[in-house]
């Protein structure tokens, strides 16, 4: 118990140091105002931290995907649609708790209300999230939020780009966000905090359940995007650069919460070339 408390304290300390160091470097960008997210935060450019190593890890991840994740995703796709849909809904419902924490941190009260409402309705009427009656009640599903996006909203730039084993592409900001997610995700706490386990006295709340949830989420995502991944792979002449570009654009898009028209280019970039 004492050991566990020490572990938690150490994690919190590490998290606070990381967050403070990051925020202090981005304070100027963030002070420009909340109504407009700084262009630094949504920058589509990111220097490499250590490209050679990242390319090596990328190769390893790609081989792992071909050998394990893709076949599992293809197998998952063979399950009947209602089972896949229900599984996806349960995972989305649990994942919305992390979104809620980040809605609050981003000061987005409206979205926080929507996320909380969806969770309450889907967990009860929707039978533990298997169904999505909330959507029919006007509480539409919104994009996921994570702590990396929250840091972006606060004005932090992406920092350098690198690839993590298994987890894939990331930036310095998003890697800090990954650590932050573990502090903000109630699912993580319920499954990892042994004090909670003791109180509940239920072995279902063990750590491996968290990784099972994360793994299912990953497989569900991979299964929904088999063709897109194949397409990118088939048409790329440098897959590493393609994935990097797609990752950075996607993160900028998520920070902006852009819905309809997305400006992923600097308009002047297009103006300078005239062909007719």
């Amino acid at each position: 118990m004492v050991e566990n408390t020490r572990k938690i304290m150490l994690r919190k300390f590490l998290f606070a140091v990381l967050t403070l160091s990051l925020i202090s470097t981005s304070a100027i960008a963030g002070s420009e105002g909340n109504e407009k997210i700084s262009s630094k935060a949504t920058s589509l450019e990111s220097k490499e931290c250590f490209e050679k190593l990242s390319r090596g890890i990328f190769k390893f991840n790609h081989a792992l995907d071909n050998a394990v994740f893709e076949p599992v995703a293809r197998g998952y796709r063979k399950l009947p649609v209602p089972i896949r849909k229900g599984t996806g809904n349960v995972v989305d419902n649990l994942r919305s708790l992390l979104t809620f924490s980040n809605n609050i941190l981003q000061g987005d009260v409206k979205e926080a209300g929507n996320t909380a409402g969806r969770f309450l309705v889907n967990s009860t009427v929707g039978i533990l999230g298997i169904f999505d009656p909330a959507a029919k009640m006007g509480l539409a599903e919104k994009p996921r939020e994570d702590f990396g996006q929250t840091l972006g909203k606060w004005g932090s730039g992406p920092g350098c780009y690198f690839v993590l084993p298994i987890l894939g592409p990331t930036t310095a900001r998003d890697a800090v966000g990954l650590v932050g997610n573990t502090f903000l995700d109630p699912v993580y706490h319920v499954t990892h905090n042994s004090e909670t386990n003791m109180l509940i006295g239920n072995e279902n709340y063990q750590e491996h359940n968290y990784y099972m949830f994360k793994g299912t989420d990953g497989v569900d995502f991979r299964a929904k995007n088999i063709e897109s991944f194949d397409n990118v792979e088939k048409n790329a002449i440098d897959l590493y650069s393609t994935v990097k570009s797609l990752y950075l654009q996607n993160r900028a898009q998520r920070i902006l919460n852009a819905d309809t028209t997305i400006d992923t280019q600097d308009e002047s970039d297009w103006e300078e070339i005239e062909t007719n």
């Binding site: 570009s245 654009q249 898009q253 309809t260 997305i262 992923t264 297009w270 062909t275």
Partner: protein, 201 residues
């Protein structure tokens, strides 16, 4: 007199041939995209062989996508430093690369259901046409925005596709520039990679 009549008949014949051969597309960006999508759908859902479909889709792209612009855009800052001969070679390679990549992406869809949502005029030269590819039990719904170059209202051209916020032109540019950068600015290395792609099955 007979000669003059013959000449007029020939001119009329030529005009008629060209008029029926080159399809006139709408000058309204939303309608323009709608027409192209409809045409692409009819090609994809036809009973033609994959080869024939690719050829027809290629022709559709050649007529309506600003490939020359995309070639210049995707090579980034190197467009200002490469020689005339290299640029000429690059344009040829890029067109082949683009058509192969474009048709291979599309021929995987047998009957895509695309719904037009709206437009946003960015400036007198660009309009974004918003659409969505409807989801199926296998695939989620996908938002697709088309960047249409409207400088010449008589001939609109597509300059980019933005799929779920991800610009294909930008992605292509970063990929090409990365290949050149990693080879100390040698554009010939990019040409080699493009040739490999064009020649692979």
């Amino acid at each position: 007199m007979k000669k003059a009549i013959n000449t007029i008949v020939i001119i009329f014949a030529i005009v008629f041939i060209f008029k029926t051969d080159a399809k006139a597309y709408s000058g309204d960006p939303k309608e323009f995209i709608n027409e192209i999508v409809t045409e692409a759908k009819s090609i994809l859902s036809s009973n033609a062989s994959q080869g024939e479909k690719s050829k027809k889709l290629g022709n559709l792209a050649l007529e309506n996508v600003d490939i020359k612009f995309l070639a210049l855009y995707t090579i980034g800052p190197y467009r200002k430093t490469i020689s005339e001969d290299q640029l000429k070679k690059y344009h040829t390679l890029f067109e082949q690369y683009f058509l192969k990549s474009f048709t291979s992406r599309l021929t995987e869809y047998s009957d895509p259901k695309i719904e037009m949502i709206g437009i946003e005029v960015k400036n007198p030269k660009y309009t974004m046409v918003q659409s969505k590819l409807l989801g199926t039990s296998e695939k989620p719904e996908v938002k697709i925005n088309w960047r249409v170059y409207t400088k010449n209202p008589e001939k609109l051209l597509i300059r980019d596709l933005i799929v779920e916020g991800l610009s294909l032109a930008r992605t292509q540019k970063e990929e090409f520039v990365s290949v050149i950068d990693r080879n100390d600015g040698d554009v010939n290395k990019l040409f080699e990679r493009l040739e490999e792609f064009i020649n692979k099955n």
